[in-house]
Symmetry: C2
């Protein structure tokens, strides 16, 4: 049991160290020896857990998706209306990007995944499905326009989010990522919120920015 | 003169061949020998023009930006109102993505550019600046809301475009890229077009989709 516990904590330390190095150096620039040093483990221990760099990259991507999904579950458990839930999930994702190197490394590796032949469709499909469900409920609640296509809206959120945070990373090292994503909500919500709920738009943008 | 002409056409053939291989294999997976074979030139000729893989990747990125910029100039020369010009530039960009492997390769290489230490900020800054100018003119024309922040709108277009085409590539190999980008305009325009010009929104979406 103690041994299992130690193996788990070594594995977690390696993933954390790998994330910090993948985030800075990318897949191609990361050496397993540097990850072992950063994690404070022997190369033998590293190879025991992750025989190849690809295994380590896939573990970071899976950890990133697990963190983001768990936060989505946390937000849904708040039991707020579907449109607020969607906005708050997106806020959580942005905060995690700012706070966790595993998130930033996972996203960088996802963009580079063709370099190691990893199929990255699943996280995009998972988020599209979850957002489309929330959008359908928000339509039933009367918060989103009745003529909105929930799948198209979900794909637009996923695509825009992906690109807006990426361009923010390229231009400002994600210094302005919250503000740029708030702009997405500011300019997008008027076109998708039901005509008789337009007065809620500023409150939803404030919610994204941290209002209670 | 004949020699200069031949050198130019060899260089163009190499860039075209490199684009086809970079698009499929990415930066890490592309071998210069394969590019020489695809271009029908000797390895010596390839190395004469591009001493390192990085030089070839930068040439493809620059060619992509040159093609896209030239198309932007073509659209601006049509002399249409600024908001229509912006929509048509974005249409041209989407069509080029579908038609030209140099565009697709350039974008893939831009996403992977950290692998070869190339600074990719300039194209994003160029497009943001140009779109912000068009947005300011469209405000003066009364087509965009007076309280819109033109820089924020420009950055949102650049970011959303980047991500929407990327997610379309991941999920459908860009089969649905025009439709996904039309959804961006459908859902975004109502929130940014001036209240008394809302009836133009469907026409602008049709313009993006190819209406005259």
């Amino acid at each position: 049991m103690v041994q299992q516990e130690r193996a788990r904590s070594t594995r977690a330390a390696i993933i954390g160290a790998a994330a910090r190095i993948f985030e800075e150096q990318g897949y191609g620039g990361t050496a397993l020896a540097a990850v072992a040093t950063e994690a404070g483990v022997t190369k033998g221990a590293l190879y025991f857990h992750f025989p190849a760099k690809e295994d380590l990259a896939v573990a970071v991507i899976e950890e990133q998706h697990a963190i983001a999904s768990a936060d989505g579950v946390r937000v849904q458990a708040l039991g707020r209306p579907a449109l607020e839930t969607l906005v708050l999930i997106c806020r959580g994702f942005a905060l995690q990007l700012i706070e966790h190197s595993v998130m930033r490394a996972g996203i960088r590796l996802t963009f580079e995944a063709s370099a190691f032949g990893h199929d990255v469709r699943q996280p995009y499909l998972d988020w599209s499905t979850r957002f489309a469900e929330l959008a359908r409920t928000a339509q039933d609640d009367g918060d989103l326009r009745g003529d909105l296509d929930p799948e198209a809206f979900a794909l637009l959120i996923v695509g825009s989010y992906t690109g807006v945070q990426m361009v923010s990373d390229i231009l400002t090292g994600r210094q302005d990522v919250l503000e740029r994503l708030a702009d997405l909500w500011r300019m997008l919500l008027p076109g998708v919120v039901a005509p008789d709920r337009q007065e809620h738009v500023p409150r939803l943008v404030d919610l994204f920015l941290g209002a209670p």
